[in-house]
């Protein structure tokens, strides 16, 4: 059961919205303003993302209590997220426990690729949804379990627009760009770069064959987000991966001390 909203007993594969719209009866309660046809103004000041953010805070508290780092991986389709993840899981095996939440609109193909590395993985198929949200991730963590002192990878739906608005409760957000894309991606899709902690420039082994200006790409990314860290690597050849693993290590929270502390709110 979801500890935030109390819902439970649904399949993880299907759409799961909590909006109680289209049920007019629940709103036609007694004691309303009756026949008075005049409207009135109500000041409410409510953040539209409150609901997502409360789930994100719950996810974050749970991950922190377990001493685990969650990374929200975002990119366009085809930037090499899954290949980087498969390589990373293989290299981290034996160093930290890992788990993966895979977001895709359809199919469990990516989760199958991940499970071949031996890491526990859960596919969240978002249907028509274009991004993961914190509620989906919370349920995925219920199902997968949060590893102790580990790293949880949240592979978002391949999309440089929609995931920007949704905090998943991650410890850091990583945007992956490949050198086969245009170097102006940070200027074209600034929102996703504005909220990222790290930009990974992937497939750098292909640079000699392409007209891609890596320095310019990083300069534009830092124009959007002056605090953005940038790393260049190739998930295929392994070039630059040591810096990626060092970055992950540096982001990991203090280890969870004892199970009793891990349960603290």
């Amino acid at each position: 059961m979801c500890s935030v909203c109390g819902c439970g007993g649904h399949d993880h594969g299907h759409d799961h919205h909590h909006h109680h719209a289209a049920d007019d009866g629940t709103l036609a309660f007694a004691g309303g303003s009756g026949a008075d046809d005049g409207g009135r103004l109500v000041q409410i000041e409510r953040d539209v993302l409150d609901h997502n953010n409360s789930h994100a805070a719950a996810n974050r508290a749970r991950l922190d209590a377990a001493g685990s780092l969650a990374l929200n991986l975002v990119s366009s389709p085809g930037a090499g997220k899954t290949t980087l993840l498969v390589r990373t899981l293989g290299d981290l095996a034996g160093r930290h426990p890992t788990a993966v939440v895979e977001g895709d609109q359809q199919t469990g193909r990516d989760a199958d690729r991940i499970r071949e590395t031996g890491a526990p993985a859960l596919q969240v198929t978002t249907g028509k949804g274009c991004h993961l949200d914190a509620h989906m991730v919370g349920h995925a963590l219920d199902h997968l379990g949060v590893p102790e002192n580990g790293v949880v990878f949240l592979e978002n739906v391949g999309n440089l627009v929609c995931p920007a608005a949704f905090d998943l409760g991650e410890g850091a957000r990583v945007v992956i760009v490949s050198v086969t894309e245009g170097e102006d991606k940070p200027l074209k899709y600034p929102d996703i770069f504005a909220n990222a902690d790290l930009m990974v420039l992937n497939k750098v082994d292909l640079l000699p064959h392409l007209d891609f200006d890596a320095d310019q790409c990083e300069a534009w990314a830092r124009q959007v987000n002056p605090d953005l860290r940038c790393l260049r690597l190739s998930a295929t050849t392994g070039e630059g991966l040591d810096a990626w693993y060092a970055w992950i290590d540096a982001r990991r929270p203090a280890p969870a001390e004892a199970p009793a502390l891990a349960e603290a709110p």
């Binding site: 709103l27 200027l187 929102d191 504005a194």
Partner: protein
């Protein structure tokens, strides 16, 4: 189009408020949308109209209150207003502006009955 999920969040808030504040119909929603928020106001309007069908907000007007993007220019050390993420500093032309505000997406006020 993530605006549909955002509209579903708006409708959820309206339904909660309907119970708390004793109303059955929403006529106008004033939504504050920061220049640095991650939404397209036109997509939001489209989704609000479509998803509002059959709810307490069917036919309601969506009034968008635009809030400016705010930033701190590292180069000239001043508070500035920027139209988008990645825009250069309007004062010195520098390209190191750290966003500091104007990413709001909040319901400010409702007209209800």
């Amino acid at each position: 189009m993530h605006e549909m999920s955002l509209v579903q969040s708006i409708l959820r808030i309206l339904e909660e408020q309907a119970t708390e504040q004793d109303f059955t119909e929403v006529r106008t929603v004033w939504l504050r949308v920061g220049a640095l928020s991650h939404v397209d106001p036109e997509a939001l309007r489209f989704c609000f109209e479509a998803a509002g069908q059959g709810t307490l907000a069917e036919g309601a007007r969506l009034e968008i209150i635009a809030a400016p993007g705010e930033g701190w220019c590292i180069d000239c050390a001043s508070r500035v207003t920027i139209p988008t993420h990645g825009a250069p500093c309007p004062a010195c032309g520098g390209t190191r502006v750290r966003p500091t505000g104007g990413d709001d997406l909040a319901i400010a006020e409702l007209e209800v009955a």
